[in-house]
Symmetry: C2
């Protein structure tokens, strides 16, 4: 077997020992007699796997307790809509445009916010430089400020997250950190919400990580799909307790 | 190893030979030197896997060529919103309520349709009987008619899909067939769109199957998240040709 060097900007290489463990547990996870893929999502085995994943991630990224860790679906592209559906209050959203991904985020936010304001843009330099935060034109009363902390296509990266408070804004900072999450510490005191597809730095494609400060949950627009309202996303704790009325067993 | 009999109403058992093959290919898929989870989603290996999955499913379910097969995310719960976002035209939607799942669908559709009309309901019998299609009160000009063809919680099942044309309606039929897809033939001449989470009858959780007649694609509401507009969902053919402007390699 010849494992190539994989510099893919898309799905990342996975350590061989992880793949070996997954292969070894494929027919029988820890004596359960089942593959992880066959388990009830409400059973104690799978809940334990979820809890472990959340706890490992909290430790690795030093996520403070006032943040919820949500495992979602749809990737960063879906979060471009899900974030304004949950956080925009149909008000003004500030976007710092530093490349292709934040351009997409700006366009998508315009479907849900009353106004999407470009607080700064690297368009003039063809996205070869990062606008100095001191020059950003932040709106008064914005629902949030969006940045993409690493633009894979145009190649500019924030080495440090902006301190919005010091820039005179009370808005929460939303960070798309898909392509460099877990490669550096995150200063959570500056963050309201951070999201990223798992497939670049965390694991296989299929899961989207959302880390969101608790006070930002519960304000979704009425048109937000129930499945993507942050307050409905099951976490290990919530999964064991929620059961719809009338359900004699778990629902589905 | 002791593999139990698994009658789970949630994630279904997977044949041992499938699990064995997945385990055997975990570190090196067909000599590529990579796990499927590490492959570029735009590479020839993964495109071939997608094509095979679509083609196998088309054969198994006898899906006619005028239907697109979409592999999406979010499960049936998300489709309860994604269907009206794509098909309702913000008009009237008819729902036949036969249990907990179609109740959920009705509630979610009300976020996007001008009117959600209960064309029939089994509520009076506590969802122990299926209202005879001849008694359904179908709306004139409805955007679509929704049914759940198998209600796992309340336990009623359509043995035959309704013939809306014979009932005097020109609306496309939308079928949530999550819990009995691939257990019986589907009369596609009666269907506009059918959806189902993969985890019950098709494979592991994480993928949602949407089979949709081509003429129903391309009419999404402006508030539909781009990621869930059926016209944007990549299919094996589309995945090889789409590349955003300015992308020197594939985007992510």
């Amino acid at each position: 077997m010849n494992r190539p060097y994989n510099f893919s900007a898309g799905p990342a290489a996975i350590p061989e020992e992880v793949l070996e463990q997954a292969a070894g547990e494929m027919l029988d996870w820890h004596g359960s007699g089942m593959s992880v893929m066959e388990m009830s999502h409400r059973g104690k085995e799978f809940i334990a796997i979820c809890e472990q994943a959340e706890s490992d991630l909290r430790e690795l990224l030093a996520i403070p307790p006032e943040f919820k860790v949500l495992f979602m679906q749809g990737g960063g592209i879906a979060e471009n809509a899900i974030v304004p559906l949950n956080l925009s209050h149909a008000g003004t959203v500030d976007v710092v445009v530093t490349g292709s991904w934040s351009q997409k985020s700006r366009k998508e936010a315009a479907k849900y916010a009353a106004e999407v304001h470009t607080a700064a843009s690297g368009e003039e330099s063809h996205f070869t430089t990062l606008p100095d935060p001191k020059t950003w034109q932040l709106s008064r009363g914005a629902s949030y400020v969006h940045i993409c902390s690493n633009e894979t296509i145009h190649g500019v990266e924030f080495h440090e997250l902006p301190d919005l408070k010091a820039l005179g804004s009370d808005a929460p900072l939303v960070v798309d950190f898909s392509s460099h999450v877990a490669s550096r510490p995150v200063d959570w005191s500056r963050v309201g919400l951070a999201f990223g597809g798992a497939q670049k730095n965390l694991g296989p494609a299929g899961v989207t990580l959302v880390v969101v400060r608790e006070d930002l949950i519960g304000h979704a627009l009425p048109i937000c799909p129930s499945a993507f309202d942050y307050k409905n996303v099951p976490t290990p704790t919530r999964a064991t307790t929620r059961r719809p009325p009338g359900a004699s067993t778990w629902p589905g």
